[in-house]
């Protein structure tokens, strides 16, 4: 099922939490929603899941308008809200059975589905405990299990890995990738490596507007323009090396890194790469090239550039 969003706006009081955003998510795509806190990620997700109604604009899911077919569409959406709210007094199995029932799973299929989800999310050792007695990582698994119990076509997750330790993050990410293989997934996060690791596409949202949309490579290219090389050249006179590097046709700028005598940062002319020329130069001059690192613009930098004013 695909998602199409047109001119979506949500006002709280006079403030626009989400301001005229439009985008599409194709069937089977995993989209990462990035943005600073308060940018409108959660509000957008709440509108897509039908929890709150938009002030203006329309949401089409599988080609159908959400407002008009809410009951039908809700059955195809799995949702993991921010902070993973759960009933602490309820035992895990009871809770999953409850959710399965609410999502309209036929009575005789409820138990097999619950067993299956417990197996997939690795909840087996904890299944008889009350949710409130579980560790955070297991609680997150319960959250994922409840979101996917009815095998939804669309999965929407608001910060699925927040508050987990690094091992748990890796596990949950793996789960999301496995379970989301045939699903349309939207997940929000502000952990940047996470989007790169899990998502096909990135949407960056700031102050209620979409400021970037594309794959991480595309965003990187747009943001940096020119490539940057970091090199270390030894056994030469630093100033001579500096001048020689600067004289290469494909370099735009050269600088010392951290004031060290043998390390240089080369910014290439846009559209060309100085790596070959640097190597040839060193061979000619009998300098020793010990390091050459193509320096990628980090997603963090792109994010900061787009979301600070």
């Amino acid at each position: 099922m695909d998602i199409r969003i047109e001119n979506l706006t949500k006002k709280y009081g006079g403030q626009r939490a989400v301001d005229q955003i439009s985008f599409e998510v194709r069937t089977g795509e995993i989209v990462g929603f990035l943005g600073p806190n308060g940018a409108g990620k959660t509000t957008t997700m709440r509108m897509i899941t039908g929890f709150i109604a938009p002030t203006e604009g329309s949401i089409y899911i599988g080609g159908k308008l959400l407002e008009d077919h809410a009951d039908e569409i809700k059955r195809h959406i799995g949702y993991l809200p921010e902070n993973n709210p759960l009933y602490p007094d309820m035992p895990v199995i009871d809770y999953l059975e409850y959710v399965a029932g609410l999502q309209g799973i036929a009575r005789e299929e409820v138990f097999p589905r619950v067993v299956e989800m417990i197996r997939i999310t690795g909840l087996n050792p904890e299944k008889h405990k009350k949710i409130g007695e579980l560790s955070k990582g297991y609680r997150q698994r319960v959250g994922l299990a409840q979101a996917m119990i009815h095998d939804p076509d669309i999965l929407i997750m608001d910060e699925p890995t927040s508050g987990l330790d690094p091992n748990q993050i890796v596990e949950i990410r793996k789960l999301i990738r496995e379970l989301g293989r045939q699903k349309t997934v939207i997940l929000s996060t502000h952990i940047l490596p996470e989007v790169e690791a899990t998502c096909d596409r990135i949407l960056i949202i700031n102050r209620g507007k979409i400021v970037a949309d594309g794959t991480s490579e595309l965003l990187r290219k747009q943001a940096s323009g020119a490539e940057i090389l970091r090199v270390r050249i030894e056994e030469g006179e630093p100033n001579a090396i500096f001048k020689a590097l600067k004289g290469l046709p494909s370099t735009a700028q050269v600088g010392f890194i951290d004031g060290q005598q043998d390390r240089f940062e080369i910014q290439c002319q846009s559209g060309s790469n100085a790596a070959r020329e640097v190597f040839q130069l060193c061979v000619e001059q009998k300098w020793v090239l010990t390091e050459m690192i193509p320096f990628e613009t980090k997603l963090e930098d792109i994010f900061r550039k787009l979301t600070t004013n």
Binding site: K11, Y12, G13, R46, T49, G50, F51, I52, A53, T55, D71, K74, R75, I77, Y79, P81, E82, N83, P85, L86, Y87, D89, M90, P91, D94, Y98, V99, G101, L102, Q103, G104, K130, Q146
Partner: protein
């Protein structure tokens, strides 16, 4: 219908999961039993085979207990954020409200069912007016339903359970006591109006064994009004402002 039942079942169980149900049952049976059998104007003092003593105690104990049951119904879901999960399921706001209402009513029914031994015992002592007993229980159930409905509304406007409890009591005390008191202080139309709003008036009339359509209308309109306002207050999140 099935969806409502799923909500009801889970809410009913959560009363027991969180031990509220046990505390409530023990206190209710303890207090009403104590005053029915042992103390004050109890059965032996009156010297009649009547459950009047029990009904007038239950009239007050339920008044205080019901807000304690209803205060968490929605306030807790708002506070913990589970409301978001609940309402993004394939359920409507109305199904959630009705489901929660029925679960609390079911718990009250269970509490009242535990007092059936009182009926049997008194029936064994003397000649019991069975019709009046049935009507008395019906009156208690209708009154409970009305207060659950009010309590649910109170719980739907705040995320603080204490506020929900006090708001429900505050609204309830007007119906329970004040309107009746005001009715005696006024004459003419105002007096009639307050009298017709007084819970005591309608409860007494039913527990005397008279089933009047006016009483039923009174209880049903309180119930429907409370449920309707709760639904409205859930739907407030969709305001386009």
């Amino acid at each position: 219908m099935h969806t409502i039942w799923i909500v009801t079942k889970r809410e009913f169980r959560s009363f027991f999961d969180s031990l509220i149900a046990y505390v409530m049952l023990i206190l209710f049976l303890g207090i009403s039993g104590f005053f029915t059998w042992l103390f004050g104007t109890d059965v032996f003092l009156i010297g009649q085979a009547s459950l009047g003593a029990f009904f007038s105690i239950a009239y007050w104990t339920l008044f205080f207990f019901i807000p304690a049951l209803t205060m968490r119904l929605l306030a807790e879901e708002y506070r913990s954020g589970t409301i978001e999960l609940l309402l993004t399921r394939a359920v409507t706001d109305r199904q959630v409200i009705i489901g929660k209402f029925l679960s609390t009513l079911l718990l009250i029914t269970v509490a009242l069912a535990f007092t059936i031994p009182y009926v049997i015992t008194i029936g064994g002592i003397g000649n019991l007016d069975v019709g009046a007993v049935i009507c008395g229980y019906l009156g208690l159930l209708l009154m409970s339903a009305a207060y659950i409905s009010i309590g649910m509304w109170a719980s739907s406007v705040t995320r603080n359970q204490i506020v929900a409890y006090l708001a429900a009591l505050f609204i309830g005390i007007f119906f329970h006591l004040f309107f009746g008191m005001l009715a005696t202080g006024f004459t003419g139309f105002a007096g009639k109006l307050f009298q017709s709003l007084s819970m005591r008036e309608h409860f007494d009339s039913i527990s005397r064994g008279v089933l009047d359509s006016g009483d039923l209308v009174y209880f049903l309109s309180l119930i429907v009004l409370g449920l309707f306002l709760s639904e409205v207050s859930l739907a407030r999140r969709n305001l386009k402002a």
